[in-house]
């Protein structure tokens, strides 16, 4: 940490500016605050954490050794193990970890006001998420690029390994269901959005054919053509929306769209990857990186005012978007923007097999998550630049605020967030939508926020285009996650079934492909279906469930990391992973406890099931609701059991880790460290000579 006096002064200034910005957004009350303070606070916190904390972890805790050959160098096979330039790996790693989660979570968490979510995005990322990604990546590199599940099995024992595998499969199912629900809600009765999203499918297939048959392997050409077609599809959607004969073809209710998404998911899972999944992923990756970059520029150029208060009254748990108090639910809701267990799968998957030097782990593991967290900050800004009244009107389900527009605005205005029917109608017209009421899931309100930021930065006249561009952007990579997730789920299931019948384990045996794809699609399709028929919007149930499962996976990853640190004789540094682990365990367990046992029908699953059962038997439900009530009651009970399953898995792993750690400390035998022996790096020497 030596440096010139100027460097020290510069870092001191960063620290002072960061403290001022964080203090400013934390202590501001009553007055509106500019979004640029959020950007400044985030930039300073990230810079300090990266410069000092990640450097300290790299040097003292993990002791990165650049003279040691990485798996990429030792097993270089020109396919999955390839020593790769660190900026290229950074690009791949970031494209892999950045998904729709950090856009949706902060949007929903904005119901508590901007402050709780923003603070957790910053603190959670630099002390938790970045540390998790970096340590898991390091341990995987030291273990020939093994996966989280394998490391859990090797280092803790078979119980930990099995728990990690089962947990991952369940998360995948919940994740896909909730993302499917977000797309369905964005397309509901919106011919423009539906036709644009539908057009992305033939466009992806066209690009797939181009890359496979017309100009094989020309990824950039194909992607450019695809991107141009996607933009045309956004404009074309507007044309369809104004065309009386085509309009009805794309005007559907939620249930029809849900069945279409389920059918699409199955078709995509059994199609060859080069035809749909791979080209769609190229398009979504370019679109994602481009839009994130554009949003950052627009925010800095426009410096919009934040209209949401720092805290709302909903921190008491009465929020309309999802029930539950700010602790623990803000942590569960933000999820991927601060700590995402899913990243541990990438950090122990493809990335460690590409690293040319251990030194790169700091930038790619820690730095990659810093950037992801910044995406979450931007999503928070996009959600909070809206008038709070508009934000709540579009994100609150009809079951909570009322079905009629007049009823909804009256409820929301009575909370102290004034909004009028005219205002909502005007906004909907500007965005080219029929209505923006009760568009739960966060995508429409995020799109309105993004459209207003883009509109004021790059031309106000095209608000409807920007809105549908934002919807298309979200939908494209949600559908990519849906395809890719279904496929991964299928492989995991085939792997498990392979233990019983070797035929079912063959990934290319078509009957097995059909069966296992069908099972996975049915699993997430069920939750998607229930989410759509639920009058309270479904997001209310599914997002907390997803948050709990994702934080559980993070806790599993941090358990593995803590266990390995202790076994490596670094007990005094074990808090680096142990502290975020302890916090996530508290948060996840408290949230799960409330979701299962709370007497509040908007929080507790059993309470909601009992309440509905009582209403059903007393005949208090109208006929339309009574029809779906038995399914909803069953689902609430199922969700309660699922939540308990997640918590049990979490505690099993923690106890397993503590058992191993305690045995190690007492000098009793434990599974040996599975670290591969030191091999000197030739790459490092060659670079030293250059």
């Amino acid at each position: 940490m030596q440096g010139t006096i100027y460097q020290r002064i510069a870092w001191l200034l960063v620290a002072v500016l960061g403290a001022a910005a964080v203090g400013g957004i934390a202590l501001n009350r009553g007055e509106s605050i500019n979004a640029i303070w959020f950007v400044a606070a985030a930039a300073c916190v990230y810079a300090l954490a990266y410069r000092f904390y990640s450097a300290w972890i790299a040097a003292r805790v993990l002791v990165l050794d650049e003279t040691r050959a990485t798996p990429a160098e030792r097993f270089d096979n020109g396919r999955d193990f390839i020593p790769t330039n660190k900026w290229v790996v950074f690009g791949h790693h970031f494209a892999a970890i950045a998904g729709p989660g950090p856009l949706i979570g902060p949007t929903l968490a904005a119901q508590f006001g901007y402050l709780p979510g923003t603070l957790w995005i910053l603190v959670g990322a630099v002390l938790g998420g970045c540390v998790q990604d970096m340590t898991i990546m390091f341990f995987s590199v030291r273990r020939d690029g093994r996966s989280l599940g394998q490391m859990a099995r090797d280092e803790l024992g078979p119980v930990g390994g099995a728990a990690a595998l089962a947990g991952t499969l369940m998360i995948m199912v919940i994740l896909i269901a909730v993302l499917g629900l977000v797309v369905v809600n964005a397309m509901k009765h919106s011919p423009w959005a539906t036709s644009t999203v539908a057009a992305t499918i033939p466009i992806a297939v066209l690009v797939g054919l181009y890359m496979r048959n017309i100009r094989p392997g020309r990824v950039l050409e194909g992607s450019l053509i695809g991107l141009a077609l996607l933009l045309l599809a956004v404009a074309g959607g507007g044309w369809i929306d104004h065309n009386e004969s085509l309009r009805p073809l794309f005007d559907h209710d939620g249930l029809t769209l849900a069945w279409l998404v389920i059918g699409y998911g199955f078709a995509a899972a059994i199609m060859p990857v080069w035809l749909l999944l791979a080209p769609r992923d190229y398009l979504s990756t370019f679109l994602k990186l481009g839009t994130i970059f554009l949003l950052a520029i627009a925010i800095v150029l426009m410096r919009p005012e934040i209209k949401m208060p720092a805290l709302t009254q909903f921190i008491d748990g009465s929020g309309p978007i999802f029930g539950g108090t700010v602790f623990p639910f803000v942590f569960i809701t933000i999820a991927c923007g601060a700590v995402s267990g899913f990243h541990a799968l990438i950090a122990s998957g493809t990335t460690p097999k590409l690293l040319a030097s251990e030194r790169d782990i700091r930038m790619i593991g820690y730095g990659g998550m810093v950037l992801e967290s910044f995406v979450a900050v931007m999503a928070m800004i996009a959600a909070t630049v809206l008038d709070p009244g508009v934000f709540f009107a579009s994100n609150s389900p009809a079951g909570v605020v009322g079905k009629e527009a007049a009823e909804a605005v009256a409820t929301i205005s009575s909370w102290g967030f004034p909004v009028t029917v005219e205002q909502m109608e005007f906004l909907a017209r500007e965005m080219g939508e029929k209505t923006l009421f009760a568009r739960t899931g966060g995508a429409p309100s995020l799109a309105v926020g993004m459209a207003s930021i883009f509109g004021s930065a790059f031309g106000q006249g095209m608000l409807a285009m920007w809105y549908h561009f934002a919807i298309m952007f979200e939908a494209v990579f949600i559908l990519t996650t849906l395809d890719a997730g279904t496929r991964v789920g299928r492989f995991m299931l085939q792997d498990m079934l392979g233990n019983f019948s070797s035929r079912l384990g063959e990934t290319s045996w078509y009957p097995s492909v059909l069966l296992t794809s069908g099972i996975i699609v049915a699993a997430w399709g069920y939750f998607l279906y229930i989410g759509v028929i639920d009058p309270n919007g479904g997001v209310n149930i599914l997002w907390p469930l997803f948050g709990i499962s994702n934080q559980m996976l993070a806790a599993i990853a941090l358990s593995v990391a803590t266990g390995i640190l202790i076994k490596s004789g670094k007990l005094k540094y074990a808090w680096v992973a142990g502290l975020p682990l302890a916090w996530l365990t508290v948060v996840t367990t408290c949230a799960a406890w409330e979701k299962v046992f709370s007497a509040d029908v908007r929080v507790g699953f059993f309470a909601a099931a009992n309440d509905m059962a009582a209403k059903l038997s007393s005949g208090a439900l109208p006929a339309g609701k009574a029809r779906f009530a038995p399914q909803l009651i069953f689902n609430q009970q199922l969700d309660a059991w699922l939540t308990m399953f997640f918590v049990v898995v979490l505690w099993v792993i923690i106890f397993d880790m503590l058992r191993v750690a305690a045995r190690h400390v007492r000098g009793q035998p434990v599974p040996p460290l599975s670290e591969s022996p030191h091999a000197p790096s030739r790459l490092a020497e060659e670079w030293a000579r250059d």
Binding site: A96, G99, P100, G217, V219, V273
Partner: protein
């Protein structure tokens, strides 16, 4: 001017590399280096095999 061109060149190579546009060329180089006496795959076959390999694990997050 030359400096700018060199920079653009580096940037272009980076874009091609990170997007996988140059994957086949890299494969050919690797192949001639390691298996000089075997026939390399054609562009089309290589692309399909690479996509299948790439999408057989967790590649995308939430």
């Amino acid at each position: 001017m030359d400096k700018l061109r060199a920079r653009l060149d580096v940037f272009w190579r980076y874009i091609r590399r990170v997007s996988g546009d140059d994957a086949y060329e890299r494969y050919l180089r690797h192949h001639t280096e390691v298996h000089p006496h075997e026939m390399p795959l054609g562009r089309k076959e290589f692309f399909k095999r690479e996509q299948d390999r790439k999408w057989s694990g967790v590649r995308r997050c939430c």
